[in-house]
C-alpha cells in the first residue's frame, strides 16, 4: 500500500487552494445561504474554473475535458467541498449528468447540452425521487405519454436540489410505458424548466434554502429530441449514473475543514483559567472526530484505488458513504457540545463562535444518513452483496 499523494496531485491541490482563497469572498458560507449573491457567485466561480480547464477536467478530451484520472478528480472534489462547494449546483452537471449525456445522448444532444455545462453557464436539477418513493427509486409514477413529436409529462417529483436556484433544466426519470412496473418501462427526459406546466415549490429544510424542492408537471410537453437514450430503457442508465456519483466526499471534507478551526477555538478559549483544549473530554472527543474523519477518507481512497485498477466496488463504495455520513454526524455533535450554548447561534449573530459553522454543520449532518441513498440502503448493499446474507422476501 502507498499512502503518499503524488507530487503532481499535491501541487494541483495547492493551486486549487490558492485559487479558492483568492476568489471566494469573506461572506461565502456555502450553497444554502439565503444571500442573493450566492448563486451568481457560483456561476462566476464555474466560469473561472472553466477558463482554467478545471471545471470539466474529468471529461474526455473529445468533449473539451482533460480526461484526468480519478485521483485528480478526487482532489478537485475534496478542495471544492472543503470550501463549501463553490461550484454550487453545477457539480452535478460535471459529475454525472454530463457524463450520462455523453454516454447515452445523440450527437445533437452533445452539442446542445454539453457546451453550456463545460462553460459553467447552466444549472440542472435532478428529478428522481417521488413523494411516494424515497429509497425505492424504481417506484416511479410520474408518467410520460408519447404524443406526436414528443411526450406529455404529468406527475410530481420531490427532494430536488437547486430547482429554485432557478434551474434551467431538469434531468427527469419518468414512467414511459404505462403498463410497466418497477424498473421496467422507465425513460429519462431532459426538461426545459421554462416549459409551461412546470411548477417549483421550495421546501424549507434544516440545510437552508435551495437544498430541497418539489416539482409538479402538469401536461408538460417535452419534445422527442429531449429523450435520452432509448425509450423505456432508463433503468440501466440510472444505474450507470448513480455509480458516477461520489457521495460521501462532501461530508468528510466538511469535517476536515472544520477540525482545525475547532482546535484553534479550543486553544484560544480560556474557561476557568485554562484553555478548553486542556479538558480531557474535549481532547478525547476531538481526537475521535479526527480519527473517524480519517477512516472515512481512507475508505473513499480505497474505492478510488479499486476503480483506478478497473475493479467495480459497489460494497466498498456503500461503506465509504456510511463512514462519511457517520463521521459527519459525530463531528456535528462534537462541534456543538464543545462550543456550548453559543454554538447554536447562526452566523448572522455577532456572538456566534466560528461564524456559526458548528450549527451549520450539525444541521446539515442530520440528513447525512438520509440523502443520496440512506444509511439503511447502504447497509443492505453491504449485507447482501458484501456479506452474502439472504434478502428478506
Amino acid at each position: 500500500m502507498d499512502f503518499a499523494e503524488t507530487p503532481e496531485n499535491a501541487e494541483f491541490r495547492a493551486r486549487l487552494r490558492e485559487f479558492l482563497t483568492e476568489e471566494l469572498p469573506e461572506w461565502w458560507s456555502g450553497l444554502f445561504d439565503a444571500d442573493e449573491q450566492t448563486i451568481p457567485l457560483t456561476r462566476h466561480i464555474c466560469a473561472k474554473l472553466a477558463e482554467r480547464g478545471w471545471l470539466t477536467m474529468s471529461w474526455p478530451e473529445e468533449f473539451g475535458g482533460a480526461a484526468s484520472d480519478l485521483w485528480k478528480q478526487l482532489v478537485l472534489r475534496e478542495e471544492m467541498w472543503t470550501h463549501q462547494e463553490p461550484r454550487g449546483p453545477q457539480y452535478m452537471n460535471v459529475n454525472y449528468i454530463g457524463p450520462m449525456i455523453m454516454k447515452f445522448g445523440t450527437r445533437e444532444q452533445h452539442d446542445r447540452f454539453l457546451k453550456p455545462m463545460a462553460e459553467g453557464r447552466v444549472i440542472w436539477t435532478q428529478g428522481f425521487s417521488e413523494p411516494g418513493a424515497g429509497s425505492d427509486l424504481a417506484a416511479v409514477s410520474c408518467k410520460a405519454t408519447e404524443v406526436e413529436g414528443g411526450f406529455v409529462v404529468n406527475g410530481s417529483k420531490i427532494w430536488n436540489s437547486y430547482a429554485d436556484a432557478p434551474a434551467d433544466w431538469c434531468f427527469l426519470v419518468v414512467r414511459s410505458d404505462p403498463g410497466s412496473t418497477r424498473n421496467k418501462g422507465l425513460s429519462i427526459l431532459m426538461v426545459d424548466m421554462n416549459t409551461p406546466g412546470v411548477t417549483v415549490r421550495p421546501i424549507l429544510s434544516l440545510a437552508g434554502p435551495r437544498e430541497l424542492n418539489e416539482l409538479f408537471f402538469d401536461d408538460v410537453f417535452v419534445p422527442a429530441d429531449c429523450l435520452l437514450g432509448a425509450k423505456d430503457d432508463g433503468w440501466s442508465m440510472i444505474v450507470y449514473g448513480l455509480a458516477l456519483e461520489r457521495a460521501g466526499v462532501p461530508w468528510y471534507a466538511f469535517v476536515r475543514q472544520f477540525l482545525p478551526d475547532l482546535i484553534d477555538y479550543c486553544n484560544r478559549t480560556i474557561v476557568d483559567g485554562a484553555p478548553l483544549s486542556a479538558r480531557p473530554e474535549v481532547r478525547a472527543q476531538i481526537a475521535e472526530m479526527h480519527i473517524r474523519m480519517e477512516a472515512a477518507r481512507l475508505m473513499h481512497y480505497r474505492v478510488v484505488s479499486l476503480q483506478e485498477a478497473g475493479v467495480d466496488a459497489p460494497v466498498e463504495s456503500a461503506l465509504s458513504i456510511l463512514h462519511s455520513a457517520l463521521a459527519f454526524q459525530h463531528a456535528g455533535q462534537v462541534g456543538l457540545e464543545t462550543l456550548g450554548p453559543l454554538g447554536q447561534l447562526a452566523r448572522c449573530e455577532p456572538d456566534a463562535p466560528l461564524r456559526g459553522a458548528a450549527r451549520q454543520h450539525w444541521q446539515l449532518s442530520v440528513a447525512a444518513t438520509i440523502a443520496g441513498g440512506s444509511a439503511d440502503i447502504q447497509r443492505n448493499i453491504v449485507a447482501q452483496r458484501g456479506l452474502g446474507l439472504p434478502r428478506a422476501s
Partner: protein
C-alpha cells in the same frame, strides 16, 4: 496513492492462510492453550520455515527487505485463524529493539537467530503495579532484581528483554532465559495468548545491557509502537474470523421460519463489524507505511490505528455475540477464542484513552 495490497503481499497472505487452515485449525488452537507453555516449538519451526520472522529485516541482517506492511499481512492471517504465536512478540519486542540498539555484542549473539527464527525473544515490560514500564529501582552492582507481569510466551522464549532501572538509570537488558535466577509462572488472564509472571534475581554482565538512559527510552518507545501496530493487525484478522462465524450463523440459523440474516437488526450489526474492520485495515496499513517510510506522522498514524483497533475490538465482540445468541457464549463454540483475544489486545499496548490523548496532542490541542 494505492490502498490495495501489493502482489507480493497477496501471495504472502494466501500462503499464510493456506498454511494456517491446513496445519492449525481451532482444535490445535485449543490444544496449544492447554499446553503449560501455551505454545509448541514444532509449530514455530514450521512457521519460521515460511520466513515469517525475517520479512521485516534488511538483507544485511539476514532478512527479506520487507517491512511492517508485510508483517501485518501475516498478523492478519494469524488473527483470522485465532492462532497465538510469538511472531509480533519476538520481532517487535525482541529482534527489532536489538537491531535498533547500538549493542554490538548482543546483536552479534542473538540477531541472526531471531531473524531466522531459531531463537524466540520476548520482553518483560510491565511492573507489578500494572502501569509502569520502568521500576523505580531494578538493580545495582551488576544484579537485576524485580518482578514483571504479562510477559507473553515467556516459557517458550530463549531471550528475555527487560525494562529496568540500573544504578538510577533506565536500562533495557537482554538475558538468555537459561540464566540462573529467572522464574516464570503462567498467569490466568483473559486472552488465549500465554502470559507469564517473571521473577528475576540475575547476575548481569556488561554485554547484557542493550541501551541506557534516553536511548533505552527511545528503543522501548519504538518497540511499543511497533507492537501496537502489529496487535492492531491481529485485531483486523480476529475480527474477520469472528465476523465469518457470525455471518455463517446468520445464514444457517432459522427463526420464525427464515434465516436470521434476513432480519435487518441482525444483518446491520454484522455490517457494522465489516464497516469498522475495513477502515481499521486501512488505518493500520497506513501506520505501517508511515513506520516503513520514516514519515514524521508515524506517531499520529499509529495512535489513530490503535485507538480504532480498540473500538473495532469492542464492536466485534458485542455484535458477533449478539448475533450468535447463547451458543456463542459457550466454551464449545469457537467465538470465545476470538472474543478473549480481542479483549486482551484491546487493553495491550495502549488503552483507547491513551491513544486518543496521543492523537489530541499531535493535532495541536494545547494541554
Amino acid at each position: 496513492m494505492d490502498l490495495t495490497l501489493t502482489e507480493e503481499q497477496r501471495l504472502l497472505a494466501d500462503s499464510a492462510r493456506r498454511f494456517l487452515s491446513r496445519e492449525v485449525g481451532t482444535e490445535v488452537v485449543r490444544d496449544l492453550e492447554a499446553e503449560p507453555e501455551g505454545f509448541r516449538r514444532d509449530l514455530w519451526k514450521r512457521m519460521t520455515a515460511l520466513g515469517w520472522t525475517s520479512v521485516a529485516f534488511t538483507e544485511a541482517d539476514g532478512g527479506m527487505d520487507g517491512g511492517f506492511g508485510d508483517l501485518l499481512v501475516i498478523a492478519e492471517e494469524l488473527g483470522r485463524a485465532a492462532v497465538s504465536a510469538p511472531l509480533y512478540v519476538s520481532v517487535a519486542l525482541g529482534a527489532l529493539p536489538l537491531a535498533w540498539s547500538s549493542a554490538i555484542r548482543a546483536r552479534e549473539r542473538y540477531l541472526a537467530g531471531l531473524v531466522d527464527g531459531s531463537l524466540i525473544a520476548t520482553t518483560a515490560l510491565l511492573e507489578p503495579d500494572g502501569r509502569a514500564w520502568w521500576p523505580t529501582s531494578g538493580g545495582a552492582g551488576g544484579r537485576l532484581n524485580g518482578r514483571k507481569l504479562f510477559v507473553p510466551f515467556a516459557a517458550s522464549a530463549d531471550l528475555l528483554l527487560v525494562t529496568t532501572t540500573l544504578d538510577g538509570e533506565h536500562a533495557l537488558v537482554a538475558v538468555p532465559t537459561d540464566r540462573a535466577g529467572i522464574e516464570v509462572r503462567r498467569l490466568d488472564a483473559i486472552g488465549t495468548e500465554p502470559q507469564f509472571e517473571v521473577s528475576l534475581d540475575v547476575v548481569l554482565s556488561p554485554d547484557d545491557v542493550i541501551a541506557r538512559g534516553s536511548a533505552a527510552d527511545d528503543v522501548v518507545a519504538r518497540a511499543l509502537d511497533a507492537a501496537a501496530v502489529l496487535t492492531a493487525g491481529h485485531v483486523v484478522g480476529l475480527t474477520e474470523g469472528a465476523l465469518a462465524l457470525g455471518v455463517a450463523h446468520a445464514k444457517d440459523r432459522e427463526q420464525f421460519g427464515k434465516p436470521i440474516g434476513t432480519f435487518q437488526a441482525v444483518a446491520n450489526r454484522l455490517v457494522d463489524v465489516r464497516s469498522e474492520v475495513d477502515a481499521l485495515r486501512l488505518l493500520v496499513h497506513r501506520a505501517a507505511w508511515a513506520l516503513d517510510t520514516g514519515s514524521p506522522d508515524a506517531g499520529l498514524h499509529i495512535a489513530e490505528a490503535k485507538a480504532y483497533a480498540n473500538w473495532t475490538a469492542r464492536t466485534t465482540v458485542a455484535n458477533t455475540h449478539q448475533s450468535m445468541g447463547a451458543i456463542g457464549f459457550t466454551m464449545e463454540h469457537d467465538l470465545q477464542l476470538y472474543t478473549r483475544r480481542l479483549k486482551a489486545f484491546e487493553v495491550a499496548f495502549g488503552r483507547p484513552a491513551v491513544h486518543l490523548e496521543r492523537v489530541a496532542d499531535r493535532l495541536g490541542l494545547v494541554g
